[in-house]
Amino acid sequence: MPIATINPATGETLKTFQPLSAGEIEKKLQLAVAAFRAERKTTFAERARGMNQAAEMLERDKNKFAHRMTLERGKPYKAAVAEAAK
């Protein structure tokens, strides 16, 4: 299955994406390992700040996120807004 946005309400292919190459995956794995080395030394409170920030952004931009879900998935828009806000 190609990596693509296909609107389920119309069948139209809106955008396709190239899968990552082995080299690009390797770069991401290196980044993950480096991030974990630093992250494991952070405190719960520090990580909670980021997570609360992410939650606030989801709530604030729920319409924008919901639009993507409805477009890619045909999810009723109201339900999509509720999912982003959850």
């Binding site: 309400a9 119309t10 899968p19 920030q53 996120f65 409805t70 982003a84």
Partner: protein, 349 residues
Amino acid sequence: MVETGARKSFIRYLPIGPILAVMPWNFPFWQVIRFAAPALMAGNVGLLKHASNVPQCALALEKLFRDAGFPEGVFQTLLIGSQQVDAILNDPRVVAATLTGSEQAGIQVGVGAAKRIKKVVLELGGSDPFIVMPSADLDAAVATAVEARVINNGQSCIAAKRFIIAEPIAEEFERKFVARMQNLRVGDPFDEKTELGPLASADAVTSLDADVQQTIQAGAKLLTGSHPLKLPGNYYAPTVLTNVPKGSPAYSEEFFGPVASIFRVKDQDEAIRLANDVRFGLGASAWTNDDRERERFINELEAGMVFVNKMVASDTRIPFGGVKQSGHGRELGAVGIREFMNAKTVWIA
């Protein structure tokens, strides 16, 4: 703290490293958040392989965590095909995996993780029962039943799929349920009044319809629906089946779409036996106002979650997961956060 002969002994929960998350398209944000929030709070880092049909959601999620202030690399999206997953599982830097999706995908990732002795959490399919006993509030049960079936256009692992109704109230339930299913507003998902949108793909409509037709041929009685709708896009008519024979697809398979099966039972014994007569064991919704019946449902339903007088739903505060072939391990709650932590035993002499 644990009392032992040590001066001090305890368990310290520590993060384990990069975790691969293979996630499905049906709740493209929530499924990922449900993995990422506990994993990142534990101090782990996440690598997301999202379903191929939601790449823009996947990229938006990666950006969200960066914008929220998490350092680069803490949460990354990998736009890859499913055939590229095994190589990542094989990489020693990836320490564990979690998958929400189909049984087939679960087996592949489960085997892949087992070969490398890596922890895996699997959230797979479900064919959740929705049981209504005579003591229940029937109108509330009917309204919730329809919602529980068509949530997310019927494409949810915890959607109620099998409606198991006690004989004395079965006729009334059936009549009201069918009427509500027929009155669902089907249409454009961007329209705020729409209650039922399209399925995720044209293939999903074809395979759902094949399962419905096979069930009818096996002897089930059709109460409404059973055909794709003549609309552009992937729409299927709200469908209700009854007299579903054992061995037919509606009896034993998971239906991902707006198709409900109603079963009549003479008592609680038969309700429990029928509810448990599938290979799945994700959630169960039981409607009763009788305390003894309630206790029996809680103890005897083969499910990871039992919701009494309420539809099954996921909530960040309580664990989510199944038994039998619905998978193993839990997400969310304290149990969920510890799935991907090292429960390190410490003894100080």
